[in-house]
Symmetry: C2
Amino acid sequence: MRWLRFTTVNRTAYGILEDKQITEVTGDPFNGYQKTARIHALASVKIEVPVMPRTFYCAGLNYVSHVAVMAAHGVGKANIPTQPDIAYRGPSALIAHNETIVIPRDATERVQYEGELVVVIGKKVKSLSEADALSCVLGCTMGNDVSERTWQISDRTHWRAKNSDTFNPMGPWIETDVKLDAMETIVRLNGTEKTRVKTNDMLFGIARFISTMSRYMTRHPTDVIWMGTDGVPRNLKDGDVVEAEITGIGTLSNPIAKAV
Amino acid sequence: MRWLRFTTVNRTAYGILEDKQITEVTGDPFNGYQKTARIHALASVKIEVPVMPRTFYCAGLNYVSHVAVMAAHGVGKANIPTQPDIAYRGPSALIAHNETIVIPRDATERVQYEGELVVVIGKKVKSLSEADALSCVLGCTMGNDVSERTWQISDRTHWRAKNSDTFNPMGPWIETDVKLDAMETIVRLNGTEKTRVKTNDMLFGIARFISTMSRYMTRHPTDVIWMGTDGVPRNLKDGDVVEAEITGIGTLSNPIAKAV
């Protein structure tokens, strides 16, 4: 099932997407819903960020080859994490599918995409075993963790490097039926494929992260966990279009503009 | 003016606190409110976390002597930050005044308080000058950034060291009329004063942080910024009571229990 959050003329609502048609619901996938008789063509609505998260978690370094690539470019060290230590973000940089990533005026040319899987939590839980961990997951969507590498190196935290307004595209929808081991993450820049990796080739998998976190921290509906990126990211510049696809979910596409 | 969020028998609401009496309002201080005729005695209500933040920011190392003290105890390095780089948290560990801080079963004895000033944002703004930065502030409250020091050293992030459930007491209310330069931050453990410092003796002040952040990131109503701690924190143990006071705001008090 695909959950889409969308805006029509006078309201924002959740809907269930099938064959490019949206069945609008009342309520939401987290607290309960009822289907309505209102049907919309996908092409006729504005797609919104699929969930405004209560807590925005990010796994960070979670693909071995990406850690090495970043270290080779002077971003961090080539130390492979030994345990799944989660990190935090805020929702202020989230934008939807098709919305514009705006590069700040004083950013360098090293603004890069990072296509990644996003896990959406659907239930309030604590202390889950690894075997039970996925029971709290509503589904998955995609994120593009846009990163300004010079700030990532110069600053003590990732505040502007990874959280400048518009730097966190997320969407286009939440897919509840995911087959992790079959998935590939693909990134295209202006239509040309730049990255193709196995999505589940993670250092620490979804179940391991959720189980570990849940020993100390209650998971809440609408929490999201960005699972990290793989591959060699490229620079984005004014006029580009970046697409992150995960097979079985969909494609998150965003144009790039440099602030003037 | 003091904004209190509280629960009576059948609802949670905001109210204005004067002389231990609460005038209940409809709405909230962020989106507009109207006073009602309902008056409650402060002692008759349950005090709630004064705001559930959209984004939970923390300044981290923002008092010079605290950086040195932590480094001397093996927590971080004695490097004084050269610019105001903000960090992030999630709201899952927030608890209210008088609620219990629960020390996880596998924590060491090095679970410590950190009393600090919390700034509450009241308006949506971007690109504020330092001179105008405080115009977006609704008021201030207090936080106790409870920290497990062995995890703070061993882990790549502060996830369980500073975000285990109940590790972020915040409250008891939001004071809108703050005289920063006159304020002292005081921490008492079981009634005995352990820390007394000037609240505004920060490396980077509130206006500097907000102005710098707002160059890249839109500030939103309900965002909170925890401004960092000073002094030498002490260990907390089962049965203790920790009080953080900031003169001119009030006292945030929490009992401690070890999970069994």
